[in-house]
């Protein structure tokens, strides 16, 4: 009898624990049907991508994307995706993208997209990421033609290449090229407004546990380099963690903080006299910008926003 009670008790505790966790995990699904614009042109599109060549018989209409940057790309081409892996959090889109985005179905996490929802949408094109979705490529291929781009780890120039591939895949190659020219124009204009860019600028994501520099190999770091700045953290690793000691040694002349949470480790560091010794702090060049603009969206729209932020903070007044 005693044994029985004990078993029931532990079973009850464990089930309650699991249930409560499931309950707090699943919220905020975007279950809305989407009108897709009909614009049929019967021509085959052949795309070479990271895991092979995919042939599309016609211009795809129902597109599912598994990375934020693909949504950014599609918005510039006036193409609405029907499904997005948005980590179940629409707030992660930058405002400019969200404005243009119609209703879509959330596919869940970018790391573990929900295959069932994905296949129920019956897409005719899936755009996936090499690092996150290599393992499920065969599965995705079984659902719809899939192109896989090396995107999550990509730097700025690689992103521009990926952008053209996406434009080609959705049958808007010419529009894509034109938009890219426009983008380069905008960046060039920003460069003009910046004037002298001979300084070290460090972008970094911060949270309560650490300070994660975006190195010269990262997307933001390579973007800064493309407009003339120098990312002081040189590393093969895109997001190395810096200690305060290493940050002081690196001594950037300007810092862009991309906080992931409200309170970050920088709040602690500010109390340390060493923080005051950093050039960027001495000259009041520590800026806080939106992480979703700088680190998550990673496309033309977000790069233009980054350029804007940089001009606003570092431009000649």
């Amino acid at each position: 009898m005693h044994q029985w009670i004990k078993r029931m008790l532990s079973f009850a505790v464990i089930s309650a624990l699991i249930l409560s966790l499931i309950a707090c995990g699943n919220s905020g699904k975007n279950e809305a049907k989407t009108e897709v614009q009909k614009n049929n042109k019967e021509e085959a599109i052949e795309i070479e991508h990271a895991l092979g060549t995919t042939v599309l018989d016609k211009r795809p209409e129902k597109i599912v994307v598994l990375e934020f940057s693909y949504t950014d790309a599609l918005m510039t081409l006036d193409v609405q995706p029907i499904g997005i892996a948005d980590d179940d959090n629409p707030d992660l889109f930058m405002d400019d993208v969200k404005e243009k985005l119609n209703d879509y179905t959330s596919i869940g996490s970018r790391y573990e997209p929900n295959i069932e929802i994905l296949s129920s949408l019956q897409p005719d094109l899936i755009i996936a990421d090499l690092n996150h979705h290599k393992a499920i490529y065969d599965q995705l291929k079984g659902i719809a033609p899939t192109i896989v781009l090396d995107d999550h780890q990509a730097d700025y120039n690689q992103m521009l290449d990926n952008y053209l591939l996406i434009a080609k895949a959705v049958g808007k190659e010419a529009e894509g090229k034109a938009r890219l020219e426009e983008h380069k124009q905008k960046i060039e204009e920003a460069k003009q407004k910046l004037g002298d860019t001979d300084m070290t600028v460090l972008p970094a994501v911060t949270n309560p546990e650490g300070f994660f520099a975006h190195s010269d190999h990262s997307y933001t770091g390579s973007f800064l380099a493309s407009i003339g700045f120098d990312d002081p953290v040189k590393s093969e690793d895109s997001y190395p963690e810096l200690s305060l000691e290493q940050l002081v040694e690196t001594n950037p002349q300007a810092i862009f903080l991309l906080p992931a949470t409200e309170n970050t480790i920088v709040d602690e560091w500010k109390k340390n006299p060493l923080w005051q010794g950093i050039d960027a702090v001495k000259t009041n060049k520590v800026f806080t910008v939106e992480r979703r603009d700088w680190a998550l969206s990673r496309g033309l729209i977000s790069s233009e926003k980054m350029a804007e932020d940089i001009v606003e903070n570092l431009g000649e007044k």
Partner: protein, 339 residues
């Protein structure tokens, strides 16, 4: 409890030597930990910094970053090793440790829940959350296995099952909340690299309470070395003693996990090394285990700086590399006697 009078003198000498060598290694560990980091620092500056003269950048590196970090490594190592020793005594199970017994996993889970639920999650709050989780983890294990010492196998199985259950829930939460818990993967292996004086101030009271209770209960804990029936026969309230022991484990392991994340294997391996060197007398074994644990983590933290130099790597990686094989060795060696 028979002694060998002839060997007694020699044994005493050996213990004296053991403690002094350990202390020497601890001092060396502190020195190299303060001396080498990302920035180069001369011995002269090091001396000035330790004696709190000078306010240059280099002095501040040592005073505000490396010193608290090293002290924290020592404290956490002590906590983990003592918690491990106590769990091994309470359960009479040589492969017991807070890590394998759901306490670390429970504490981690509740701290991660706290981090996700509250945006202003302070360190003090996380310590209380960790205690709660540690209690939950331990409760789950003991409700599955019972607290009689006759079933070390059930306890080990229940412990491992609960550990994996809670860890998988933690990882599930992290995956579902990737955005707010970005670097929690880093935290999940445990690291002391961000330790500050403030964190030391927060954890020290718990160290003090834990160690005091431990020392006060030392005579009673001695009975844990005996058979339960014998202890009861001697008039000890064995359940009460075990509960006190669990409380100390939860205090030590919980506060360590809340401050630095679950640093694995220290609690498992250190008591074994300590016992093989210092023997079974608790009045020697307990302080030696604490010192050895602290020393090991100071060295582990020092070497972990060079894994991805000049960037930080969590010290938990290093303790896992050392501890994993040791665990297998123990399981194989003791497997026969357990079965």
């Amino acid at each position: 409890m028979s002694r060998f009078p002839v060997r007694k003198q020699k044994h005493k000498l050996f213990l004296l030597l053991l403690f002094s060598v350990t202390l020497l290694f601890i001092i060396i560990g502190f020195l190299i930990s303060l001396k080498w980091g990302q920035a180069a620092i001369s011995w002269r500056v090091l001396f000035e910094a330790i004696t709190f003269q000078g306010q240059t950048k280099e002095h501040l590196y040592i005073q505000t970053l490396r010193m608290p970090r090293t002290i924290m490594a020592f404290i956490i190592g002590c906590h983990m090793a003592l918690a491990g020793l106590l769990t091994q005594l309470i359960t009479r199970n040589p492969i017991a440790s807070p890590h394998v017994f759901g306490i670390n996993a429970g504490a981690s889970l509740s701290v991660v829940i706290g981090l996700i639920m509250f945006s202003h999650f302070t360190l003090t709050a996380s310590i209380y959350f960790a205690f709660l989780g540690a209690v939950l983890g331990a409760f789950l294990v003991f409700s599955l296995a019972g607290i009689q010492q006759k079933q070390p196998i059930q306890l080990a199985l229940a412990g491992i099952a609960v550990h994996f259950l809670l860890s998988s829930l933690t990882e599930g939460l992290i995956i579902m909340n990737e955005q707010s818990t970005d670097s929690m993967m880093f935290w999940l292996v445990g690291a002391v690299d961000q330790a500050s004086w403030l964190e030391i101030q927060t954890i020290l009271p718990w160290s003090a309470i834990g160690v005091t209770v431990l020392l006060l209960m030392l005579p009673s804990f001695r009975l844990l070395l005996l058979n339960d029936d014998v202890a009861v026969g001697l008039g000890q309230r064995i359940l009460f003693v075990k509960l006190c022991g669990m409380l100390v484990v939860i205090l030590l392991a919980g506060s360590a996990v809340a401050t630095c994340g679950p640093i694995g294997f220290i609690g498992l391996i250190v008591p074994h090394i300590a016992r093989s060197l210092a023997g079974n007398r608790l009045s020697l074994l307990v302080p030696f285990t604490g010192l050895l644990g602290g020393m090991l983590l100071v060295y582990a933290d020092f070497f972990s700086r060079f894994i991805a130099y000049p960037y930080e790597s969590p010290v938990g990686i290093l303790t896992a590399i050392i501890g994993g094989p040791f665990f297998i060795y123990l399981a194989r060696k003791k497997g026969a006697s357990l079965a």
